[in-house]
C-alpha cells in the first residue's frame, strides 16, 4: 500500500464541481453504495470556457478543411499520375495511423484520452500542421537558400527550418485542442497523449508527401520501391523518435499550463518552456547533418525516444500516484477495500478486480469502476495544482 493511501482526508470537491464524493454518514447503510454517475466528456469547468472552446473547435474545423483543400490541390495531380505509388502510400499511411492511434491512446496512464479530443488532435496533425508546414517551410527554406547560399542551406536548411515551423504548428494545435476540450486536457499526461496524436497525424501526411517526393526524386522510375523505402526509413528506422515523440514532449508542456488554467507560476512556466524548447532541440538533432549514417540515425532516434520516455514516465508516475491517492480516499466512502480501489488506477488492475466478480455482475461493476476512476481523475487533477 502506498503511503498516500493512508491519508483519508481528501477534499470532496471535483473539477466538475457538482459531483460530491460519497462519504459515510450515520444515515448511510454499511457496505457498497452507488456512485453518482459523472458526466462523461462534459462539464466544462466554467462558463467562461464554453465560448472559447466553441470558437476553438470552429477554428480547428475551418483550418482542417482549408488544410485538406490545400493538400489536395498540391498533391492530387502527382497522386493521379503516380496512382499505384500514391495508393500504396495511402494504405501504408492508414495502417500507420490505425496502429499509432491505438498504441498512443493506450499509453495514457489510467485510461484512454477523450475520444473526440483524440480524433481532433489527429485531424490537426493530418491536415493543418502539415499543410501550414508546407507553406511555412517553403518560405523559410527559400529565405535560408537566399541568405546562406544554396550549398550551406542544402546542408543545414532542414535543421534550421523544420524544428521551428513544424514544432510550433503542431504545438498550436495541441493548445487549440486543450482549449476546445478543457475537460480532456487537464494535466501533463493528457498533454503528452494529445501531443503524440497530433504528431502521429502530422507524420502520416508527411510520410505521404515524402513518398511522392521520393518517387519524383527517383525520376519517376522504380515503381513502388521509393514508397516502400520511405516507409521503411520513416516508420521502421526513425519511427520511434519521430513526430509523435517530439509533440508528446511539447504537449506535456501544454498539459502543465492547462492544469493551472494557463496561469502558471514561474517554476511551472519555465518547465513548460523548457519542454517546448526540448522538443525543438530534439527535432534539430534529428535533422542536423551529423551522425547521418544508419548507425548515427539509430543513435539519434534512441536519444529522442529515451528522452520522450523519461518525460512520459515522470508524468505517469506522478499522475498514477495521485489517482491511487484519490481512489483510496474514495474507497473509504464506498466501503471498498483501499487496495482494491487503488488497483483501479491501471487497466490491468481493473480487469483483475473484474475477474473476481461473478459474471452477471461484471457490467454493473465495470460501470462503477469507470465512475470511480473518473471521479478519482477529477481529484487527481486538483492534487497536481
Amino acid at each position: 500500500m502506498s503511503p498516500e493511501s493512508d491519508d483519508p482526508r481528501i477534499p470532496a470537491t471535483t473539477d466538475r464541481g457538482a459531483v460530491p464524493s460519497p462519504r459515510p454518514s450515520p444515515q448511510d447503510p454499511p457496505g457498497p453504495r452507488r456512485v453518482p454517475p459523472p458526466r462523461r466528456g462534459g462539464g466544462l469547468r466554467t462558463r467562461e470556457q464554453r465560448l472559447p472552446a466553441l470558437v476553438s473547435l470552429v477554428l480547428i474545423t475551418v483550418l482542417c478543411l482549408a488544410g485538406l483543400l490545400h493538400l489536395v490541390l498540391q498533391l492530387a495531380l502527382p497522386a493521379r499520375v503516380f496512382f499505384p505509388e500514391a495508393l500504396l502510400s495511402v494504405i501504408l499511411g492508414a495502417a500507420t495511423l490505425v496502429l499509432g492511434f491505438w498504441v498512443l491512446r493506450r499509453i495514457r496512464p489510467v485510461r484512454e484520452p477523450d475520444a473526440d479530443a483524440s480524433l481532433v488532435a489527429v485531424a490537426w496533425g493530418l491536415f493543418v500542421a502539415t499543410s501550414a508546414g508546407v507553406i511555412a517551410n517553403a518560405g523559410l527554406g527559400s529565405v535560408w537558400a537566399k541568405g546562406l547560399g544554396l550549398d550551406l542551406a542544402g546542408v543545414w536548411g532542414a535543421a534550421l527550418t523544420a524544428p521551428l515551423n513544424e514544432e510550433l504548428l503542431k504545438l498550436a494545435g495541441i493548445v487549440l485542442v486543450a482549449v476546445a476540450f478543457p475537460s480532456a486536457v487537464r494535466g501533463p499526461v493528457d498533454g503528452f497523449a494529445i501531443g503524440s496524436l497530433v504528431g502521429l497525424g502530422f507524420e502520416v501526411t508527411e510520410n505521404f508527401i515524402y513518398s511522392i517526393n521520393m518517387v519524383l526524386m527517383a525520376g519517376g522510375t522504380g515503381g513502388l520501391v521509393p514508397v516502400v523505402q520511405t516507409t521503411v526509413l520513416r516508420v521502421g528506422l526513425t519511427g520511434l523518435g519521430s513526430h509523435w515523440a517530439l509533440s508528446a514532449v511539447a504537449g506535456t508542456a501544454v498539459g502543465l499550463l492547462a492544469a493551472v488554467a494557463w496561469r502558471p507560476r514561474a517554476r511551472r512556466a519555465v518547465g513548460a518552456a523548457l519542454l517546448v524548447a526540448l522538443s525543438m532541440v530534439l527535432h534539430w538533432f534529428l535533422d542536423a547533418p551529423v551522425f547521418s549514417d544508419v548507425l548515427g540515425i539509430l543513435f539519434k532516434v534512441a536519444v529522442i525516444f529515451a528522452t520522450t520516455m523519461a518525460v512520459y514516465f515522470t508524468a505517469r508516475h506522478a499522475y498514477r500516484r495521485r489517482v491511487r491517492k484519490a481512489l483510496a480516499a474514495e474507497a473509504e466512502g464506498l466501503g471498498v477495500r483501499r487496495s482494491a480501489a487503488s488497483a483501479l488506477a491501471t487497466r490491468h488492475g481493473r480487469r483483475r478486480e473484474l475477474r473476481r466478480v461473478a459474471l452477471p455482475e461484471r457490467p454493473a461493476v465495470a460501470a462503477r469502476q469507470d465512475q470511480m476512476v473518473e471521479i478519482a481523475e477529477d481529484r487527481a487533477v486538483r492534487y497536481a495544482l
Partner: protein, 204 residues
C-alpha cells in the same frame, strides 16, 4: 469535515486566465508562420548572376558529379526555387531552364528510355497538360549520350533533355521553356542543354 481542506490541493485556487489568451496565441502563431515566412521570402531578393564559362555543380551520384556551364552571359540562378544537388532554376529573360538531378533506386539502373518515360510522367505531375514527344538521341559537348524531345503544355513549349550519368546512378533532367518565350528566345540559348559535364569523383 474541517479536515477536508487541510491535505487537499496544496494551493489556493488561482484566478483563471481567460482561455481566449491561449486560443489567440495559438491562432496568431499559425498565422505568423504561414503568412510571415512567404512574406519575408518575397521581400528578400533571390537571384544570383551565373557567369558564362564557369561550371556550376548540379548534382552527384555513384562515382560521378555533374556540372553545367553556360555558354551565354545573362543567366540568373533563382536561389529561392532551387535546392542544392537536386533542383535548380535558371532564368534568362523569358526563358527558364529547370534542372533536376534524379537518383533512381532500382538495380540495375533504368535505361535512358525508362528515364524519359519517368520524365514524361513527372512533367504531367507538374502540369496536367504537359506532354513530351517521342525522344531522339542527343549528346553533350563532351560526348555523354542522352535523349531529347519537345515539351508542350497549355502554358508553354520548349525542349526536354535527359542525360544518365556514365554509371547510371543518377541522371540530369532539364526543361528549357518559358511562358512568354518565343521560338527565337529558345533557339538563342538551345546549346545550353548540351553543356552538361560528368566528372568522375576524385578526378582533377
Amino acid at each position: 469535515m474541517a479536515e477536508a481542506t487541510e491535505d487537499g490541493p496544496r494551493t489556493e485556487p488561482r484566478e483563471h486566465l481567460s482561455n481566449w489568451v491561449p486560443l489567440g496565441v495559438a491562432a496568431a502563431a499559425v498565422a505568423v508562420l504561414v503568412g510571415g515566412w512567404p512574406l519575408v521570402n518575397a521581400l528578400v531578393p533571390g537571384s544570383e548572376s551565373v557567369p558564362s564559362g564557369e561550371p556550376v555543380p548540379v548534382g552527384a551520384g555513384g562515382d560521378y558529379r555533374a556540372s553545367l556551364t553556360f555558354p551565354q552571359d545573362g543567366w540568373l540562378l533563382d536561389t529561392g526555387s532551387s535546392q542544392a544537388g537536386q533542383t535548380y532554376r535558371f532564368d534568362r529573360g523569358p526563358v527558364q531552364l529547370t534542372l533536376n538531378s534524379v537518383t533512381p533506386v532500382t538495380e540495375p539502373p533504368p535505361t535512358p528510355e525508362e528515364l524519359w518515360e519517368g520524365m514524361r510522367r513527372i512533367a504531367r505531375a507538374g502540369e496536367s497538360s504537359a506532354r513530351l514527344s517521342d525522344p531522339e538521341s542527343i549528346s553533350t559537348e563532351e560526348g555523354a549520350e542522352g535523349l531529347t524531345g519537345t515539351l508542350k503544355s497549355d502554358s508553354q513549349q520548349g525542349a526536354a533533355v535527359v542525360y544518365p550519368s556514365p554509371d547510371g546512378r543518377f541522371a540530369v533532367e532539364m526543361t528549357l521553356a518559358g511562358q512568354d518565350a518565343t521560338t527565337a528566345d529558345l533557339a538563342a540559348v538551345a546549346d545550353v542543354v548540351r553543356s552538361v559535364t560528368f566528372t568522375k569523383e576524385g578526378a582533377a
